[in-house]
Assembly symmetry: D2
Homo-oligomer: 434 residues x 4
Amino acid sequence: MRTCTLDTLATPEHHDTARAALAAHYPQVRRFSEQLCAPLEIEDYGLQTVVEASPPKWHLAHVSWFYETFLLRPFVPNYQVFHPRFEYLFNSYYEQTGSGFWPRHERGLLARPTVAEVYAYRQHIDAAMLRLIADCPAADWPTVALRLRIGLNHEQQHQELLITDIKRHFAHNPLRPAYRAELPTVPLTAPAPLRWHELAGGLIEVGATDEAFYYDNEVPRHRVFVAPFKLAERPITNGEFLAFIQDGGYQNTGLWLSDGWAIVKQQGWRAPLYWEARDGEWWQMTLAGMRPLNPAEPVCHVSYYEADAYATWAGKRLPTEFEWEYAALNQPLAGHFVEDDWLHPRPAPEGEGLKQLFGDVWEWTGSAYLPYPGYRAAPGALGEYNGKFMCNQLVLRGGSCATARDHIRPTYRNFFYPHERWQFMGFRLAEVAA
Amino acid sequence: MRTCTLDTLATPEHHDTARAALAAHYPQVRRFSEQLCAPLEIEDYGLQTVVEASPPKWHLAHVSWFYETFLLRPFVPNYQVFHPRFEYLFNSYYEQTGSGFWPRHERGLLARPTVAEVYAYRQHIDAAMLRLIADCPAADWPTVALRLRIGLNHEQQHQELLITDIKRHFAHNPLRPAYRAELPTVPLTAPAPLRWHELAGGLIEVGATDEAFYYDNEVPRHRVFVAPFKLAERPITNGEFLAFIQDGGYQNTGLWLSDGWAIVKQQGWRAPLYWEARDGEWWQMTLAGMRPLNPAEPVCHVSYYEADAYATWAGKRLPTEFEWEYAALNQPLAGHFVEDDWLHPRPAPEGEGLKQLFGDVWEWTGSAYLPYPGYRAAPGALGEYNGKFMCNQLVLRGGSCATARDHIRPTYRNFFYPHERWQFMGFRLAEVAA
Amino acid sequence: MRTCTLDTLATPEHHDTARAALAAHYPQVRRFSEQLCAPLEIEDYGLQTVVEASPPKWHLAHVSWFYETFLLRPFVPNYQVFHPRFEYLFNSYYEQTGSGFWPRHERGLLARPTVAEVYAYRQHIDAAMLRLIADCPAADWPTVALRLRIGLNHEQQHQELLITDIKRHFAHNPLRPAYRAELPTVPLTAPAPLRWHELAGGLIEVGATDEAFYYDNEVPRHRVFVAPFKLAERPITNGEFLAFIQDGGYQNTGLWLSDGWAIVKQQGWRAPLYWEARDGEWWQMTLAGMRPLNPAEPVCHVSYYEADAYATWAGKRLPTEFEWEYAALNQPLAGHFVEDDWLHPRPAPEGEGLKQLFGDVWEWTGSAYLPYPGYRAAPGALGEYNGKFMCNQLVLRGGSCATARDHIRPTYRNFFYPHERWQFMGFRLAEVAA
Amino acid sequence: MRTCTLDTLATPEHHDTARAALAAHYPQVRRFSEQLCAPLEIEDYGLQTVVEASPPKWHLAHVSWFYETFLLRPFVPNYQVFHPRFEYLFNSYYEQTGSGFWPRHERGLLARPTVAEVYAYRQHIDAAMLRLIADCPAADWPTVALRLRIGLNHEQQHQELLITDIKRHFAHNPLRPAYRAELPTVPLTAPAPLRWHELAGGLIEVGATDEAFYYDNEVPRHRVFVAPFKLAERPITNGEFLAFIQDGGYQNTGLWLSDGWAIVKQQGWRAPLYWEARDGEWWQMTLAGMRPLNPAEPVCHVSYYEADAYATWAGKRLPTEFEWEYAALNQPLAGHFVEDDWLHPRPAPEGEGLKQLFGDVWEWTGSAYLPYPGYRAAPGALGEYNGKFMCNQLVLRGGSCATARDHIRPTYRNFFYPHERWQFMGFRLAEVAA
């Protein structure tokens, strides 16, 4: 069995033609981060309303810090840093860089550097990066190319966080401001009834192959046994979740995991995040401001605990990450991604068959986020990227309306703590085959 | 596939001869709880030094409440409760009994009922239980017998907790009192070098069969694929763990899971729980008081985080719960259990082959505590026994020096949060087969 | 102006005949502490239900530690301590003894030493103390005598705390056990209307004179100006306080100090501590268990915030500590003290004139607990007795039904934080003279 | 004795000529608030680094809310509010307005309204206020005039808070940005030795007279007795405080009040706020950025606990607020105020006599902030201005380098909690006369 780490996962063979492609791809990714921030006021850039959602300014700087730390400092001779304290201010959690990092819960307390200075920092990084891509010696290129691809994927992840964090911050404001009031909406419709798709399972292989980029947590590819099962053709909708609420789901302790019930009581949860009852009608906060709840849309911004309680109430369960991957293997990336610019999950399309496995909402699985057999994190700070989080979190699959389409694949493993709700998180049911 | 719940797991066929056996077994189990408390002073019975470790008095009462709630109230006509408030005071966490429960973190604040009153409560329960076992109508017997077996296993679990909680409370006292100063000790020895045992794996079946009693979390029995692997012949010892400490293990962030590193820093962990450095020598608190650390004993009272960090440092990993179960299937229950009355893990015996899979120390596995496919909790309060905890915890296997030998089996799944250390918890390494 | 410290306040002249008297007084005081604990079960001795209320066992040991630390260790050659760790375990808060102290909030976590061991400790101290009183060289006697008198007054203070802490602990138990069920009760009566007593004031002297024992916080005696004022003849009663409650006093933010309102909301205060509404009737927890509220009794177990809010509601104010002292100067100690063995405040007697200034309930004054001009704490640990608390607390005057009559005097200053309620605390109104 | 409330303290006689003066004064005060914010970046306006220091944007809006709430809404017929939610967002703590208020600790989480919108709000208020001043009916004028004067003094208080809060926020940033780098500095000098000024005391009158504006907490004027005392001619300096530090002041528990010692240990205090040791030299954060510590300047940003510990160390004490007022009665307002635009305390001038009683640093007194005898808060929300804070705080006197000179007077009472340090707080010693 092949062990796999961040430093070995990409071999030169896959990438020898990549220099030009990466030189073109780099500015595209960089530009999109700034484009996402265009609707913001200066005042919005510094907001951190909860510890897990960072300020937009911090995201813009941190993704730049990533290139500086893992590419410019090690591979550019006599590289001049933009500011000597930025390695401390914009490191997120990498313990092994030696710089330490500004406390995560205080990211919103840094009015300086200003927004303009952060944009200047980005320009400094971009200029240096383009020179590095152009001029880097061939001997360094394989490592540089791999790290660059990680850096670009890393920035894409932060683009998704930019969107979800902005939504979180704006929803905290009692004025409920819109990020982009002009975002389109769909007419309110009732969802089609839920249909089930049966899959045979068997002794299958899961995990990434070497054909394309992947993160180290997607390998080693290995065999697992999947028993026959049925999978819902689409995610659970707002309308279906409303029936759970109306049936007293949030008051019925027997439906909940113990840790989930504790948080329901402590936080007074009565509905998904961003839902608000106003005069007997349900509304939800969106990136376009407050909108009436659409029963046909996938339910979103629910925790693992809520997904699990719903499944228990419905007499079903969540799929495992391997059931999901097996079902998704030959499915098209047909859902809505960030490029579609809805920034909100849309109702499932009509017709038969599995739908929306990709895009719209991340889907909680019933699988704990653990290392694949034989996994070993890379040595050094870059090895902290994924490996050190393999405890206490659950796997989500498929991407969302805030994910880049070219960022996602069937083997992609996202992970969050079971109480977290601020991502575009929904779920799909499974059950044992008859 | 057969779904399985607490109410259906025991069928009459397995138990038709059980009435006499249970009538004999019941007083044995009950007597042992009281025997464990015999060395205590009255003052010790009420102690709760940390929220997760309950007072001995509470354990004695709670196990009695279990019989009262699930057997005497439902199956004894006109049953007279001992005290109307005890259903509230001695319920642990069952939300669906309707009584509510006294807050867990305040169990140590109840001087009343007194110890004498709790023993009187036990006598009241015992008299009623023996009558029920003798007189219960045949139609009720299957359910009564099943619940009684659960109740007895439940009391055995609390006997183990009595021991570990008393150790925890006594260790908190700066006088470090001995629970039983006369407990035997073994000469200090050096451990034999670690050897490895290779296993072939394959598509195997895991989970309980109907041949003996099991908890609902051990079923449905189902197939999993296990790749070839190597398993250490014995758990890691104090001496080996000391080498990790001396190599700076607790200071090396690169070895730790992120959540584990946070707790190492926050709590100032520098060694396993109960280890103390005095004048350059390591001592450990035991149920016999402070004793010099024996390098040959299995390391004990370590969290999952410490077990995982050690494995990373050693270039190995923890086994999955299925690897462990597969390896343990035909092994004898050869380790030390509570009946051996050492109340402390002993060094592994000499010789070749897998050793100490059972007894001495619970072994952390690398598996999250999740439901087996098709698992469904029983309806009602009894269904809360295991199911609602299937999130955020890890599986441990094999039992410890504080477990009853007749309580354990290869399919038995214990579970704790990854930061917990006060049980007799150790670990064994695994690695990919060559 | 004379400065005054604990070490100089008692001059030999006042005490040259005191050796025999103190030798007789010492065992009386010591015996009373144990007498107060006689109704306790062993289980009750270790209780600490809130941080500010210590376990009875701790009180019994701590007062003994005081003699050991300030008398036996310094004045008995070759004194043998009872246990080397007790100086650490039973020091309360004296930073300058060098021993450190066991954390205050964990006093309830020490099952050992046992109750029997603590009584043995007391006997050890008593034997040594009686020898010291008998044999102490004349040159040491003045200091020994002063410290002994402080030690006895200190034990009297802890006797009051024993009573109030036992009440607090028992009230926390949902069984509401009685400390002494046989304590007498008075028939429910209506209070007589409140009458006012007018006082002329002027430039007066306040603080202790050298005629009797006093604490260092009662001196230097000094002049203050008191304007003419009126003082209520008796404390506010339960019946009067009930009218405040029924008028929405606990809901009317305009009546409350800001810090008080914050705690009302945070703690959900709706009535004095120990009041409980059952089926529309008010009951209160007493040392004899639950009893119906007597409207004629002084209201008790109210915080400064509640006393102040009531006064605002009534259009009055609390007296200053100097107004109180001026009014109390020539009043008899006519209220109920611990020697009267009611352990509960009684209704004011009939008739004209100031009543109940002493005994029954401590009376909150509107004065902050600050040093008198020229006050200086004694050097060393004994100087921590009173001085270091002269911030953030309010002065209470007059003693309560749990205070020893020979412990109290007009100049006596008690002090608590404004939110504290577990002492026998009530209040009396004042207003500007017409 | 005359009782006094906010609604009665200003009688028409004092103010019948004030309409033109107030019409002129209003824009001056308003303009200065905006002038103080001119050096800020947009990013700085929203900062709240600690709960007690509000964002500049919030200050700008809140002072406008004050006019809107207490003047425009009640006195302008058909007044149109700028935004219906601002009464909720920018109320500070007035419980009786009925609007509720946004949580104080979340003031920094409101990116919207933007800075531009808040300035527009100010313009809206200003236009309405100037119309009200011009057109208000004569019958309303006395009340309007009084409330307007309160409103202007209120804005002056928030101007001081703007300065101190900006300093607090900038000091939290690891880049230590300067608010105004061009602020002047004085050469480092050694302070002149401390001299003492003797005062006779006696039965004096304290509190405000009706000759000028005052807050309700400065009355009723009343008699107090002040014994002869000596007062230091100037505040304690950085150099003197450094000697306390070097003598182990922060490590010597015997010098500290109990609550102070607790915070010293918990917070790790080792010096005044804003002091930093760099390479063995002491620096301090100022509004001009980091500067070397000037030993001749008054020590600043110390808590009451530190002031009291220093006094104990020095064998002196803090003056009472009445001693201070008595000493200050005929002194000129000769120190440095905000109009002098140093924004930092300056060394005391040379020469004999009392110096710097006014300006430079607020001086902690040893007096608790309590109501004067006969004080009664005004009914309604405006009565919450001062009265509800008369508990748990200490009085400071004299104003600082961030106070407006025309805001201060000998009877002015400022008040803060004893642990607070972020104002320009220093202290002056007193002692008993020989």
